[in-house]
Amino acid sequence: MKAVTADNISLSYGSKEVLHQLSLMIDKEEFFIIIGPNGAGKSSLLKGLAGTEKINSGTISLFGLDQKDYSRRELARLTALVPQGIESHFPFTVADTVLMGRSPHLGLLGAEQEEDYHIARQAMQATDTAHLAGRTLDRLSGGERQRVIIARAICQQPAILFLDEPTASLDLAHQIRIMDLLENLRLERKITVCMVSHDLNLASMYAGRLLLLKNGRVVRTGAPQEVLDEKLLEESYECPLLVDENPLSGTLRVLPVPAKFLRGK
């Protein structure tokens, strides 16, 4: 049984179709990364899979059961979403925000128990946000806020974690820390990780499989070695690229080539 199966899904905003009859499968405990140029439909695909955006046709199954057959709360116990930007008009503290991840596990009037606090504390320690607990979200840097939102998602204890460019606003140290954290969650808690990323080098080092998306269609799915093909990427991103081997990890490495170095290529 697959963790996620999408069969011929299409999604449009008004008359603009952003996903065209797309199909994919994600294995249990897989690290699955969606890549592709801007406007390819990566975020829409992620939202569709996570169930926060309605698809117009096709079916999505999670662990063999149609997404529509889950209630909202069941879905929130099974999957968590780390969206791209977050709103903070109202000054919730970091502790409050992380604890919100427990809400699909509680009844309407149920108060959090010691166990919930414990889970929240663990999530905050794992994301290096425990020292921020009392601060309000509007007083955090972009990177700190991103880690808090990941802590909330972990606090949901999902079986599948969806993330939309979780490393986009982070410095190098925190990028690696977040990716290592996701890898650990995947291995230790047997979570399936599905994320959108613009960072092909991180994707190459962590992903079990990649999905290259363009104009709402799958260009190629497979192991990083199969997808990170120089020709294929140059066509998709419409930009000259250099793909070579990372001497440390042996994985592929992708560099965009500036115009002034084009002669050597």
Partner: protein, 335 residues
């Protein structure tokens, strides 16, 4: 690390206890003090004389002041909760039933009903509710259609609907031949003196609204994270928003029927509470209820005690406090 989370129960008990005591104190003061006795020390007289019934003072207290104090408490609690709900739904701390024109819409509906001469319940209340729902619909439509900063266009739409409602009210009053004109005008400015037994069914409708909002306090927190996140946290955003919108509009329009246009309570109280107890609506809802009730009972006390003779409409007091605060908040949010 152990101090990271304070269990909600303890804080809730403490807050309810403190604000409950405050409410009891102002209500007692409100019952003791009035145009016939302005001395705050009358509280002790009141407590002392509760035993012997039948005197004129007893009649004043039981038949006039106490119903009035209760009406003030219910109106204050309702308007304060109404403010909280609209601030969550519109994700704007400046949203408030009066500023959004919802109270004004209810007043137009209520006055139309009064002038036609339909009975107060259910006739006038139904027309008030229709008026407020219609205004709310127009405000939301205008705000969503407007370009640019949504937060400001929403407030602008509300202020304009309020002005339009004001014009409609003046139009209705100027063409009417009603002998109740003076009475209606006074009611419009916020009048708590109409506490009568005939209004009791309205209270019976308002109380369940409190319960609904209390039950939905946690989803209200989550709604503040935005539609997408709230959905991914298991909240049915559309359903919860519609329930909250109708509940808040219903109870606010009922309070307009009971006490006219009392503005800014839903701005002042939630603002103060957010500064002191944070953004958790499981605390803010009960605190807003008790705090709003205490606040309006207090304002009514001022309205009765301040003028040398007679009394002020309580809406004048709340506007004098609330409007400057609104301006300060607007100025600060623009920076």
């Amino acid at each position: 690390m152990e101090q990271t989370f304070t269990p909600i129960g303890k804080r809730l008990t403490l807050i309810c206890l403190l604000l409950g005591l405050l409410l009891a104190a102002v209500m007692l003061l409100g019952a003791a003090v009035g145009s016939s006795n302005r001395n705050p020390l009358a509280v002790f007289d009141l407590l002392g004389s509760l035993a012997d019934g039948g005197s004129t003072r007893q009649t004043i207290i039981w038949k006039i002041r106490l119903p009035r104090v209760l009406l003030a408490a219910v109106a204050g609690a309702t308007l304060s909760l109404g403010g909280l709900v609209f601030q969550v739904l519109l994700r704007n701390p400046l949203a408030e039933p009066y500023i959004l024109g919802i109270s004004g819409g209810a007043a137009v509906g209520a006055i139309s009903g009064m002038l036609i001469g339909i009975p107060f319940f259910p006739g006038v209340t139904v027309s008030a509710f229709s008026g407020s729902m219609a205004t709310l619909g127009i405000v939301l439509l205008l705000a969503s259609g407007a370009r640019g900063e949504r937060r400001d266009s929403l407030l602008l739409a509300g202020v304009m609907m309020n002005a339009f409602a004001g014009a409609l009210i003046m139009f209705l009053l100027s063409i009417s031949q009603s002998s109740q004109l003076h009475h209606i005008l006074f009611w419009l400015m916020g009048d708590l003196s109409m506490a009568e037994a005939g209004r009791l069914p309205l209270f019976a409708l308002i109380l369940p609204c409190y319960v609904i909002i209390f039950i939905l306090a946690r989803p209200m927190n989550i709604l503040l994270t935005g539609r997408e996140t709230a959905t991914s946290l298991g909240v049915n955003v559309r359903k919860i928003s519609v329930i909250l919108l109708i509940t808040a509009t219903l109870m606010v329009s009922l309070v307009v029927c009971l006490s006219g246009l009392v503005g800014f309570v839903g701005l002042v109280i939630p603002h103060i509470l957010r500064l002191t107890i944070g953004s958790d609506h499981r605390l803010l809802v009960p605190a807003g209820l008790l705090g709003g009730a205490s606040y309006l009972v207090g304002c009514d006390l001022l309205a009765r005690a301040l003028p040398a003779s007679g009394e002020l409409p309580v809406g004048i007091i709340t506007a004098m406090i609330g409007a400057p605060l609104f301006i300060v908040l607007l100025w600060r949010s623009g920076k």
